[in-house]
């Protein structure tokens, strides 16, 4: 077996393969190299890291459309600078999020990054943003930490912290006469933080959470748990689910005959962007959120008609969050002008921004989380109709944030 010639041959072969592979790989790399920046009043490079495929693809698309709508309304500019987009599909996969964020920041040299929907992915982005100092605007993910213990001067959010929409619901449910409530959610950050905030609000008002049911994210086989709800017979149920899970939970709940017998409450995600699929099963469900489809203010009306004209679809909260992300960025850039390096001034101007958002007045806390109204809505005729203001200018406690 030991044959020097054949060893040499093997080696030659190995080396050739290796070289071939290297060449192929290098070609791949070369294609991916960022184009050299052209010196013409350098365009603002906006990295859009959003889910363009997977469960949250629709949300990503609406956020992007909302952002684009704002930029188009400013003739393709923000703060007087031309905008160049670098799109990147995060697929809602936390495991590749750091890598993807590095692509935008180190490879493509984005001036600012907008993203994303999934909390786990957003957390990885926050981490890279903290290390690299790149401005990051989160247009959806609600993880409390992003504007809590991990808050930073360069990190902003135009959506909500998980605490925000859930906490005011506690008092609403108590005031509607319910004392013993059951909660149900997925066992992951968003679900647990929202249920936690609801429980906090509800127990502070004097109610009692009798049982907290959970199942792994994103499982949707609810039948066993719904049977448990029927056995325990609480006064009401508070649920957090979103997307496909929300559709299935609401329809299962109705099909099991619980609808109308045990009232169902939740944060807005239970019925937002899902009403078409939920149909009549969702009618009457009351939820709290920082937006309602029919908010009666001029900004909202203008936004909804412009969005409809641009995309042919009805605008929703995700589009609003994207739209406001652009507005926030504009507020910062107007203050600093062409000077992209003046980051401190940029952040100060963004932190002080007062935005006339479709959701109502929008300002920012020292932790850079929105201060906004939380609305109680009810599903009527396939819309999340405004009922009342559940909390005015609600601000997140920003626990653990050193800037707050």
């Amino acid at each position: 077996m030991t044959n020097i010639k054949s060893t040499a041959q093997t080696l030659a072969m190995t080396r050739r393969n290796f070289l071939g592979a290297t060449a192929a790989g290098a070609a791949g790399l070369a294609l991916g190299f960022p184009k050299p920046a052209i010196a013409q009043g350098a365009a603002l490079k906006v990295g859009l890291m959003l889910p363009f495929s997977g469960t949250y693809a629709r949300l990503g698309q609406f956020i992007e459309n909302g952002f684009n709508l704002y930029v188009e309304q400013k003739s393709g500019m923000l703060g007087g600078r031309k905008v160049e987009f670098i799109r990147l599909d995060d697929e809602s996969k936390p495991e590749t999020a750091t890598d993807n964020m590095n692509r935008l920041v180190s490879r493509d040299k984005a001036d600012v990054v907008i993203g994303t929907v999934h909390s786990g992915v957003a957390m990885a982005m926050v981490k890279v943003a903290r290390d690299s100092g790149v401005p990051l605007i989160i247009p959806n993910a609600g993880a409390d930490e992003a504007t809590g213990p991990l808050c930073a001067p360069n990190i902003f959010r135009t959506s909500f912290s998980n605490w925000q929409p859930a906490h005011p619901m506690g008092k609403v449910v108590y005031d509607e006469g319910h004392r013993n409530v059951l909660t149900i959610t997925w066992r992951y950050t968003a679900g647990q933080q929202m249920v936690g905030a609801f429980t906090e609000g509800f127990e502070a008002a004097g109610g009692k959470v009798v049982e907290a049911l959970t199942l792994p994210f994103p499982e949707v086989e609810f039948q066993a748990l719904i049977t448990q709800i029927a056995t325990l017979k609480p006064d009401a149920v508070f649920a957090f689910f979103a997307g496909g899970g929300a559709v299935k939970f609401v329809t299962d709940y109705a099909a099991a005959g619980l609808k109308g017998k045990i009232p169902l409450y939740g944060t807005g995600f239970l019925t937002d962007g899902t009403l078409k699929a939920q149909g009549d099963a969702a009618t009457g469900i009351r939820t709290t959120l920082h937006y309602a489809d029919d908010l009666d203010n001029p900004a909202n009306k203008a936004f909804l008609s412009a969005f409809q004209a641009k995309t042919g679809e009805a605008g929703d909260i995700y589009a609003v969050q994207g739209f406001d992300a652009a507005a926030l960025l504009e507020a910062g850039l107007v203050a600093t002008g062409d000077d992209a390096s003046a980051r401190e001034a940029l952040f100060a101007a963004m932190a002080g921004a007062k935005i006339d958002s479709p959701r109502g007045p929008l300002t920012f806390s020292p932790a850079h989380n929105p201060i906004q109204n939380i609305y109680l809505r009810e599903v009527r005729d396939g819309r999340n109709a405004f009922v009342s203001v559940a909390g005015e200018a609600v601000r997140d406690p920003a626990r653990g944030c050193r800037m707050a």
Binding site: M1, T2, N3, I4, S6, T7, A8, T10, L11, M13, T14, R15, R16, N17, F18, G20, A21, T22, A24, G25, A26, A27, G28, L29, L31, G32, F52, S53, L88, D89, K93, P94, E95, A97, T98, D99, N102, R103, S106, R107, S119, G120, M123, A124, K127, W186, R187, Y188, T189, P216, F217, P218
Partner: protein, 333 residues
């Protein structure tokens, strides 16, 4: 396989030295990219020890990869740098221990059964981290400070430095190559490949087939663990998907693309797959469609991987046997 000659060692050394020059030549992002390729290449080479040389098509190697990654994050103190000397051996040992248990159970089966059983065990570990709170659940866990190797107060190796990290990944890949290459030139390597080629004959020759396979499986898992440890250290984040079978399948693509009969083949496969993903993602929204078609074409047109491609392109001489023609020890039934 022939024993390692001094020429082989020299070539390996030359390749490593050349690769070590990379950070001086390309921007930071590509150093990081190269480190990622080396880590995935290590995983693929490790997997190929089981697949190509042991004839064991495992769909749970991502679980070993992820397990070691989780081990690092769970063992690390929250705000201090974890010690490389302490956490690395432990993480690798945990991956190996898991492989020992899974191997003992799954090596009782063969062929299709083995694939499905490893798939199921891999998913079991996935759900262990996905459904229970101790590993952060489906949200994953962060590693805030990267591992260091220090003597007393002096830090010798700090994985936080991208160049140091790249060199560490390079060392891991080169070490893995050397170890597998060396192993295959020992009687153990002969026994392993003999059992792959014809199990009955191997048994008749008195080779303890199950034990040989188990050792190869555990070793291959330990090396996959080494890769997983580095991957967790590189991105400072672990999520259950790191253990999922999609990564196992991707690693298999790397193995087949690079060629199952070459120790270094899967490393080349990792480079091509990762480069392809990088390039496709940049240009095509529906890149997965193209990627999927490429995989299908690979299986149908060039089962020998890059060697076949080279031959199809008229480069090089006729490559020997298509590397994919593994005879899995006794088909089911």
């Amino acid at each position: 396989m022939q024993p390692l000659s001094s020429r082989t060692h020299l070539a390996l050394l030359a390749a490593v030295v050349a690769a070590a020059m990379l950070p001086a030549l390309v921007p930071d992002y590509y150093v990081q990219f190269a480190a990622k390729v080396l880590i995935l290449g290590t995983l693929a080479m490790a997997l190929n020890l089981a697949v190509g040389f042991g004839g064991l098509v495992s769909l749970c190697h991502a679980a070993f990869f992820g397990l070691a990654g989780y081990a690092l994050v769970l063992l690390a103190p929250e705000y201090d740098a974890p010690s490389l000397l302490l956490t690395l051996p432990l993480a690798v040992a945990i991956a190996a221990a898991a492989a020992l248990v899974i191997g003992l159970l799954s090596l009782r089966t063969r062929g299709v059964y083995f694939i499905m059983v490893t798939l199921a065990f891999g998913e079991m570990l996935f759900f262990l981290f996905h459904d229970t709170p101790f590993g952060g659940g489906s949200d994953g866990l962060f590693l805030y400070v990267k591992p260091v190797l220090s003597v007393g107060e002096t830090i010798l190796v700090d994985l936080d430095n991208p160049v140091t990290f790249y060199l560490a990944a390079l060392a891991a890949a080169a070490g893995t190559w050397w170890l597998i290459r060396h192993l295959l030139s020992t009687p153990f390597g002969d026994a392993l490949t003999a059992a792959r080629d014809n199990e009955r004959r191997a048994l008749a020759l008195g080779i303890p087939v199950i034990r040989v396979r188990l050792i190869a499986f555990v070793l291959s898992a330990a090396l996959a663990g080494l890769a997983g440890y580095l991957s967790a250290a590189q991105f400072g984040f672990v999520a259950p998907q790191m253990l999922g079978w999609h990564l196992s399948a991707t690693a298999l693509v790397m193995v087949v693309l690079g060629g199952t009969r070459r120790v270094a083949g899967p490393l080349a496969g990792a480079l091509v797959v990762t480069g392809l993903e990088e390039g496709l993602k940049y240009f095509i929204d529906d890149w997965k469609l193209v990627y999927g078609l490429i995989i299908i074409a690979l299986v149908l047109v060039a089962p020998g991987g890059l060697q076949d491609l080279a031959r199809l392109a008229g480069l090089g001489r006729r490559a020997g046997t298509p590397a994919l023609n593994l005879k899995e020890a006794n088909n089911v039934g």
